[in-house]
């Protein structure tokens, strides 16, 4: 570095702050042609060769702002190498008291300043449109985190993690308008390095809490929440045991007692961040999405799933699709975490509303319903109510849903033989016809499944479906009037049907023998004149 005196240096710094470039450099910049890769490499080499050329840092920093992403990336990497070498050389380590006032101190301060500027510029680059630039700068930043943690420890030889820098990175990522880079970050670093994972989750919860307190603009907040949710959902590393936590970005000494190594703190961090998300404002889509992943990604991987109980019970009570979706996680809590849910079956029964067989999530619901009703210790009246309600619904259902209901009811009947009365009422005599003939004893309005009177009823609806227009559905419904030989039907095989799949199945059928043709045809298609009564489609005209 040419400057030797403090004065000069100070003056230069003043100039730096005002114009960003000292006059000498400006002159030189004027002379230097547009930056080329060779030039950048040259400059980098000069820096590494001697302290004289430290001013090159300034040029490189300037090149980083270049329009051309290649140039800016090259200079960023060049700078990274230079700074890394300097860190290794100890130029950034805290100076001893005796060094105060020496040129070394001045240099150190100047360098630190440049380094700070460099970091800000890198974070700036994260917001770049260009995916490569953004990603490379992210890589550099993470490596910087590593370098800083190894070399810039405040106390010598002690474990240190550069949280400040990481926090800045995380914050920048979460505030981006898209979540591509964030997901990349999660995939490449959060899922791999447990220290990054821990700190990321911590920062995420802090930032989310801040966001809530700030009352920021709703649009921005929505984006932030969206990013956060997708990042949290994208995490795939869920350590089961402390021994799995071995991969770190910054090597952790064996003796060190850092929360990063603890299973409970890792899980706690995940828990905190999710709770922070749940506390914030969620739109319907986000709400449903979280409910969908909750039983797989959240509940099994946090310390105290009980904390989710309120959220889940509220969701379950909300009714409609939200109830359906919360059922999974709620069941998990009941099963594993001893959640006592009063009137669970009543609520479950209430979920069988008019639309249940028409919604997309019906297969998900039926999987669970199968599970809930699998116990043979349930009261027969309750099971009968479910069967009767399902058959009521099936009568207005699309074929794809009937296909689920019929084997489902079969399995229920097979499990609860008492309910066979719904198919075969032996206690009926003709004298009772006044009692039975008129009305269905089943009370559709009753919300308590134990009191609906379904046991006195019959599943006429399912019997009617034996005459369904679709031959396969009709055949399937006929299993109810055949001897129950089969132990059970695999419900899973019947779940994922729709008009599309059924039509596909129809259209792939080959013609093996000529299809039957009507042996007489109506004299005319439409009725245009009154005298023609032989029309096929009366009341219509061409």
């Amino acid at each position: 570095m040419p400057e030797a005196t403090t004065d000069k240096k100070k003056a230069k710094r003043a100039e730096d702050s005002s114009t960003d470039l000292p006059s000498v450099k400006r002159a030189r910049t004027a002379t230097t042609p547009t930056p080329t890769p060779e030039l950048i490499l040259d400059l980098e080499k000069q820096i590494s060769n001697s302290t004289e050329h430290y001013n090159n840092l300034v040029y490189l920093l300037q090149y980083m702002k270049n329009e051309d992403p290649q140039i800016s990336l090259l200079s960023a990497t060049a700078l990274f190498r230079s700074f890394a070498k300097m860190m290794l050389a100890g130029l950034f380590s805290p100076l001893k008291k005796s060094m105060a006032g020496t040129p070394q101190e001045t240099l150190s301060i100047w360098l630190k300043e440049k380094y700070k500027e460099y970091k800000s510029q890198l974070i700036e680059l994260l917001t770049q449109e260009d995916a490569e630039t953004a990603f490379t700068s992210l890589t550099i930043l993470i490596r910087l985190v590593k370098e800083e943690s190894t070399h810039l420890s405040p106390r010598k030889d002690e474990y240190y993690f550069a949280k400040t820098l990481l926090k800045r990175v995380v914050s920048a990522l979460l505030n981006l308008s898209t979540d591509d880079l964030l997901l990349e970050f999660v995939d490449k670093y959060v899922d791999v390095y447990y220290d990054i994972r821990y700190h990321f989750l911590n920062f995420a919860s802090i930032l989310a809490t801040e966001q809530i307190e700030e009352q920021a603009s709703s649009e921005h907040e929505a984006q932030f929440t969206m990013n956060l949710i997708s990042a949290l959902a994208a995490i795939t590393s869920f350590p089961e045991d402390a021994s799995e936590i071995i991969e770190f970005l910054v090597a952790v000494p064996v003796k060190e007692k850092t929360p990063v190594k603890k299973l409970s703190s890792q899980r706690g961090a995940l828990q905190d961040s999710w709770l922070a998300v749940l506390k914030g404002k969620l739109n319907t889509g986000q709400y449903k999405y979280i409910l969908q992943i909750m039983h797989k990604k959240i509940v099994p991987n946090i310390n105290k799933p009980q904390l989710l109980m309120d959220f889940l019970t509220d969701s379950y009570d909300a009714g409609g699709v939200v109830s359906l979706l919360s059922l999974n996680a709620l069941f998990l809590l009941m099963q594993k975490y001893n959640l006592d849910y009063p009137n669970f079956y009543t609520k479950l029964y209430a979920l069988l509303d008019r639309n249940i067989l028409h919604v997309k999530h019906r297969s998900r619901f039926f999987r669970l319903l199968d599970l809930f009703l699998s116990s043979t210790h349930l009261p027969a009246a309750l099971v009968a109510s479910f069967i009767k309600r399902l058959s009521r619904l099936a009568i207005s259902a699309p074929p794809s849903a009937i296909v689920i209901v019929v084997p489902f009811v079969y399995n229920l009947l097979k499990r609860h033989t008492t309910c066979n009365l719904l198919l075969q009422r032996t206690d009926f005599t003709n004298a009772d016809s006044s009692k039975f003939g008129l009305n269905d004893p089943f009370n559709d309005e009753e919300s308590d499944p134990n009191k609906t009177g379904a046991m006195e009823s019959s599943v006429w609806e399912l019997a009617t479906l034996q005459d369904h227009y679709h031959p396969n559905v009709g055949t399937l419904a006929k299993i109810l009037s055949e001897p129950f030989y089969k132990p059970s039907y695999n419900i899973e095989d019947f779940m994922d049907h729709s008009y599309t799949t059924m039509l596909d199945a129809e259209f792939v059928k080959n013609i093996r023998k000529p299809p039957a043709v009507e042996f007489e045809i109506a004299a005319s298609v439409f009725t245009s004149n009154e005298k023609n009564q032989q029309a096929y489609l009366s009341g219509w005209e061409l």
């Binding site: 066979n420 132990p487 729709s498 799949t501 596909d504 039957a516 009725t527 061409l542």
Partner: protein, 840 residues
């Protein structure tokens, strides 16, 4: 310890009194005459046999001796039994053999004498009836013209010539040298008749034959005489010319006479061989024709019924018929339960979990993308085969009638089109009436009987007509219905001739419709669905194919597609409303005969009623979207009347919530009336369904609400004035029907089967096991049968063995006899030689 052989022998001899002191005092005293020497010898030889170990053959048991069990045939004396057999045969068989061809016997051939199935009375009865019959036949059938000769033996006269029977089936006369057999009225030919009668019969026959022969000879002689006379007559002319010098023409007739005779004979013989002419079918009367038609229709209807009940299935699979056995491991994991019922594979697992819930939770909005892609490929496929992309089809120039030149526009021959473009080329700009003529001409020109390959051409031509009918429906409203009917009739004729090809044509049409329906469901912006052509293809399928079949290759997918439309297609415009109404009506038509249940149609009809109700709450029993579309009609409906709906109405794109003009009002009210009609028709169609009340009570509740709304609000009453009556009427009718149907409802008795026996897997132990016991069958009858069977088998084997031995014996005897004869002969020769030598 058994004694030695020698000791045993001594003991035995002593016991029989052959050794030891023979002349003791006691014996002397008794003085029983000593057994003759022969007796002694016999006794001795028997003892010798007894003690000859080589005479006894023992079969060694594989498992040794089991608890003193006696095994039959374990020890035997083959030599002895052989000897016994030989002696028996010598006694019986040889006797027979010697007497063979030497002694006569009486064969009893009386009727039923050797029939073991007849009792004595039956035998007598049968003989009696035979006798009576033969007697009566002798008396009556001789001159009985009506009598049909079902019993050849009693048959009347036969056609004879020269004393020979001309009938081919006469087994006697053909080989008879005498040729004199004319009539065999005699009963002596009967199988069971005794020998004596038969011989008499033969005598009689001979007498007859002889007389015939004589007769024939007399005839022959007479003919010869006549010939000679004729010859003389012929020469008479010559003689006369010699005598009188005149030249008279010789008569040719007389010369030709014998030739004519032989010609006649030939003719007669031919006539004899000729088959009798059969009466031809006479023209049937109208009644008979009607009856025949009725019979045919009944047959067709029976077939249809069987198809409807699914008794004739497309694939006769026995997959479901197999009951699970004890040996099933329940590990047939590759079997899909759902696949057993013919459902497809479903979506698979991938998609089910990952669907993210968005605004509309109903399936309708979520028609999966993958299926869209699939549909696209299908579309590509179908267009490539038809070579008519959708766009070109729609842009077809409208058919115009060239009024001035009607006749000259038509050619007499046309190429048979093989693609839709070619079809359009052929049809050019002819009106549909001309097109029908052209179709007729093509059908005549390319009639399959005219040339090879014509059939294939017509097979390609047929499906094009379907497409053409759809196109006509799409782009012209000026086609008269009469002509359209004729076109439909043509398509129907084609379908009857080439059902498979036409079915494929209809299916590809359905695929196109399906693809557009799917894009319309997933994206409400799409407006190329529904088109009149879609409706027309649905209508045609309903008319042409037997939609009542349990499974039908065209009707089933069509019905599913209608179901998808009714349940998922959002009704937003008047056109959509009309199209759904039409499809609901069509689903009714499809199920008219089979009376199957269509949930989607009921749901749609409920929605249709609900859209007229202003109140937000809906009765339970049918699915409801979040914001169901409501039809708002303002103002009065004066001056509007209910009209017939048109297929082209489905193109109306006024939003159903913005109805203003009278024409729109008329359309929407007519559609609603059509829906009400459909509802009531469904209600009468599905009488007797178990869940009748559950099916229709939501509709009834909706109708109740609607009528109360109409009567409560003056404004509504005015607006819906046109259908007010109809709503009240329908409400009452439906209520009455529901009440009636509920009265007859009974609890279900679906499981009226024999109780399923619980299978037992315990091994079968026999409590009273015995080595000698052959069978442990608890069923006594079966046990008896198997016992008898075993016995029969045993006897049969024994009989075979005996027969074999008999044969061996016979051949042995014959050989011996021959040898003896030979040696006798040689001995005689030798003796003679010796005699000659000694004499010589």
């Amino acid at each position: 310890m058994a004694k030695s052989q020698l000791k045993q022998l001594k003991e035995r001899l002593k016991l029989s009194g052959l050794t030891g002191q023979t002349n003791t005092k006691k014996q002397k005293k008794g003085r029983v005459p000593a057994a003759s020497r022969q007796d002694k010898d016999n006794l001795l030889s028997s003892i010798r046999d007894e003690f000859n170990p080589f005479e006894v053959k023992t079969t060694r048991q594989k498992h040794g001796d089991i608890l003193g069990r006696k095994v039959q045939g374990a020890t035997g004396r083959p030599g002895l039994s052989k000897q016994i057999g030989e002696e028996n045969r010598r006694r019986t068989l040889q006797n027979e053999l010697e007497r063979k061809n030497k002694v006569g016997a009486i064969v009893d051939r009386r009727f039923g004498e050797h029939d073991p199935n007849m009792t004595a009375e039956e035998r007598m009865l049968e003989r009696f009836t035979r006798e009576r019959q033969s007697r009566s036949a002798r008396n009556s059938s001789l001159f009985n013209l009506e009598g049909d000769d079902d019993d050849g033996d009693f048959g009347g006269d036969r056609l004879t010539h020269f004393g020979q029977s001309l009938s081919l089936d006469d087994e006697f006369s053909l080989g008879d040298a005498t040729g004199g057999l004319k009539r065999r009225g005699d009963d002596s030919e009967d199988d069971g008749e005794p020998e004596r009668k038969k011989s008499k019969n033969e005598v009689m026959k001979e007498v007859i034959a002889k007389s015939k022969m004589y007769k024939h000879e007399r005839q022959k002689a007479k003919e010869e005489d006549q010939d000679q006379i004729a010859e003389l007559d012929g020469e008479m002319d010559d003689l006369r010319s010699l005598l009188f010098g005149s030249t008279a023409q010789p008569s040719q007739q007389t010369e030709r006479a014998p030739a004519k005779d032989s010609e006649y004979d030939e003719n007669v013989r031919e006539l004899g061989f000729d088959r009798r002419a059969q009466p031809s079918d006479r023209t049937k009367t109208t009644e008979e024709l009607a009856e025949e038609r009725a019979k045919q229709l009944k047959e067709l209807e029976d077939q249809r019924l069987r198809r409807m009940r699914g008794e004739i299935t497309e694939e006769d699979d026995e997959r479901n018929s197999r009951k699970p056995d004890a040996d099933d491991l329940e590990d047939d994991f590759e079997l899909d339960d759902a696949a057993d019922f013919g459902f497809g594979r479903g979506l698979g697992d991938s998609e089910s979990e990952e669907e993210i819930a968005d605004g509309n939770e109903f399936e309708a909005a979520g028609s999966d993308e993958s299926s869209d892609e699939k549909a696209e490929t299908v579309e590509r496929m179908s267009t490539s085969t038809n070579a008519t992309p959708l766009s070109t089809r729609r842009s077809k120039p409208s058919v115009e009638l060239s009024e001035d030149d009607i006749k000259s526009g038509l050619k007499f021959t046309y190429n048979c089109p093989s693609s839709y473009d070619e079809l359009l080329e052929v049809f050019e700009a002819h009106g549909i009436d001309k097109q029908l003529v052209i179709i007729d001409r093509i059908m005549t020109l390319y009639h399959p009987s005219l040339a090879a390959g014509n059939k294939e051409k017509l097979m390609k031509f047929g499906p094009l007509l379907i497409e053409h009918a759809a196109t006509i429906a799409d782009d012209s409203s000026d086609v008269s219905e009469e002509l359209f009917n004729k076109l439909v009739k043509k398509i129907y004729d084609f379908t009857q001739s080439y059902p498979e090809e036409m079915a494929l044509g209809f299916r590809s049409q359905l695929q196109i419709t399906r693809q557009r329906l799917q894009s319309a469901i997933s994206n409400s912006e799409v407006t190329d669905y529904p088109l009149p052509s879609d409706m027309v293809s649905f209508i045609l399928i309903g008319m042409i194919f037997s939609t009542s079949d349990y499974f039908h290759l065209v009707a089933t997918p069509a019905m599913l597609l209608i179901g998808q439309h009714l349940s998922q297609f959002p009704v937003s415009t008047l056109g959509d409303y009309a199209s759904s109404s039409l499809l609901a009506r069509l689903s009714l038509k499809y199920q008219t005969l089979s009376k199957r249940y269509v949930p989607e149609a009921v749901n749609y009809l409920n929605h249709s009623i609900f859209s007229f109700i202003q109140q937000e709450s809906a009765p339970q029993g049918f699915p409801l979207t979040e914001n169901p579309a409501k039809i708002v009609i303002e103002g009065s409906s004066k001056g509007i009347s209910i009209r017939n709906l048109k297929v082209s109405d489905i193109m109306t794109d006024t939003n159903i919530s913005k109805i203003s003009t009278p024409a729109e009002k008329q359309l929407v009210l007519s559609t609603f009336k059509s829906d009400l009609d459909s509802l009531l028709e469904f209600a009468s169609l599905w009488k007797g369904k178990d869940a009748y009340k559950e099916i229709f009570s939501p509709s009834l509740a909706l109708l109740d609400t609607l009528s109360s709304e109409i009567s409560a609000s003056k404004k509504r009453s005015v607006a819906l004035g046109l259908i007010r009556e109809r709503v009240t009427e329908s409400t009452n009718q439906l209520r009455r029907l529901i009440n009636l149907q509920t009265l007859s409802r009974k609890p279900l008795m679906l499981q009226q089967h024999k109780p399923i026996p619980i299978p037992t897997y315990a091994p079968k132990f026999e409590e009273n096991y015995s080595v000698d016991k052959k069978s442990y069958d608890p069923n006594v009858q079966r046990q008896e049968i198997s016992k008898l069977k075993a016995q029969v088998k045993k006897e049969r084997k024994g009989a075979l063995r005996e027969l074999r031995k008999d044969n061996a014996f016979i051949s042995r005897e014959k050989l011996a006899a021959k040898k003896k004869k030979d040696s006798d002969y040689h001995a005689m020769l030798a003796r003679l030689e010796r005699n000659v030598a000694s004499e010589g």
